[in-house]
Subunit: 241 residues, 2 copies
């Protein structure tokens, strides 16, 4: 068919890798939100004006931490709940629990997490006298374990390399880091990249499929070595993009 | 014992993580120096004024490439040799061969490489329709395989994340990247960091022991995903150091 002159439909603008959706209206839950990493992310997201639910085994302890974060950030949309309620009432759910409890918790939340964007930020590591080393989950990575346990969720992996110390330091205004985001589905990884970019200093960078999550998770062992040698809170930037 | 006043030995200055040795007088050999990665490193090192030996199975082909690199850089100390001669006549030996030939070549050069600083920059990767993915060597990583095969050498791992395209692009004056250097022995990793810093734009960063090399090697799979998405030649910078 020919298109009559003057009535052409304007072409949709080409979507570049830096064109990300608006996620400012989404509710973000943080499982394990009372630990340092989860609390750090909750603090930064609340400070950016995101609606945040801090999840914990104990709803009471979660509410305590949510009150603290809400007070520190002036964000009135910061609440606490048990992990199941957190999962059920959030649009994006960050998994920030210790590796030891990872499988058990996720298996128990399969129905609450159905349809949700899940962001795994767990780093399976062991420690001995020589420092940290990578543990290799049977599924390949923590993120792949999450994907196996949550077949009805949109599983991504991100936020592995953030220093909880920097996240929680209220004198730090910007956390200068690139957040590597992995996943199978473009819309989900785009949303997580956009979520990262809500936090000043952070950039969300797509960095591959979940089968390549292990090295991103375990690179934290190297960052721990860097921190020890240079007395730093090291993070990564990706060059040339 | 008390030290009599006035005769104290001056304390050696504290050596910081950024205090690196002068390696400008060392001869650097590149095994697999006729492939893109090895040739790119040889070109950058020659351009920086380093004495370089390009190694290959064929001494003739190696000499051809050495002549090209010497001509392009104006470096008269650039020669070619077979891999065994390259190993025997260099102070620092970079291993830039394909993963498939890695074990066989190193096993054959054990005596030539004895006492030498060996820098493994091999990335064991597989490729399929979905892109690149990490291969897991039995020893844990290519670098650990090198260490197992070369018990008399000082094995380090570095130079994994460099783009051969950028290294070989004569219009590129600076390659802006941090080179993660891993190893067991401080003097060896310091020398390799210093070697990286001979090349404009590069910084050598200590990033742990060889048991944490696998994730550094296989992160190249992620950088390949980044390059595809962003049409880039991605590298890494470590923040806060």
């Amino acid at each position: 068919m020919s298109t009559p002159e003057g009535s052409t439909t304007p072409a949709a603008p080409a979507r570049g890798p830096h064109d990300l959706p608006d996620v400012s209206g989404l509710v973000v839950g943080v499982l394990g939100g009372t630990g340092p990493q989860g609390r750090g992310l909750a603090y930064r997201l609340a400070k950016a004006g995101q609606q945040v639910v801090i999840g914990s085994r104990s709803a009471e302890r979660a509410q305590e931490k949510a009150d603290e974060v809400g007070h520190a950030t002036g964000n009135a949309n910061c609440r606490g709940a048990d992990n199941a309620t957190t999962a059920a009432t959030s649009d994006i759910v960050i998994v920030a629990v210790p590796w030891e409890g990872h499988a058990e918790l996720l298996a128990s939340l399969r129905s609450e997490l159905a349809g949700k964007i899940v962001v795994d930020c767990v780093n399976p590591l062991g420690f001995d006298k020589q420092g940290a080393y990578a543990l290799k989950p049977e599924e390949g990575s923590a993120a792949q374990q999450a994907a196996a346990l949550l077949p009805d969720s949109r599983v991504t992996a991100a936020f592995h390399h953030l220093s909880a110390v920097l996240l929680l330091d209220q004198s730090v205004d910007r956390v200068e880091i690139d957040v590597l985001v992995l996943g199978e589905e473009r819309a989900a990884t785009d949303a997580v990249q956009a979520l990262a970019e809500r936090m000043p200093g952070m950039r969300g960078v797509f960095a591959g499929r979940l089968r390549n999550a292990h090295q991103v998770e375990s690179l934290v062992a190297n960052l721990i070595s860097v921190n020890r040698r240079y007395k730093a809170h090291a993070g990564l930037r990706v060059t040339d993009i």
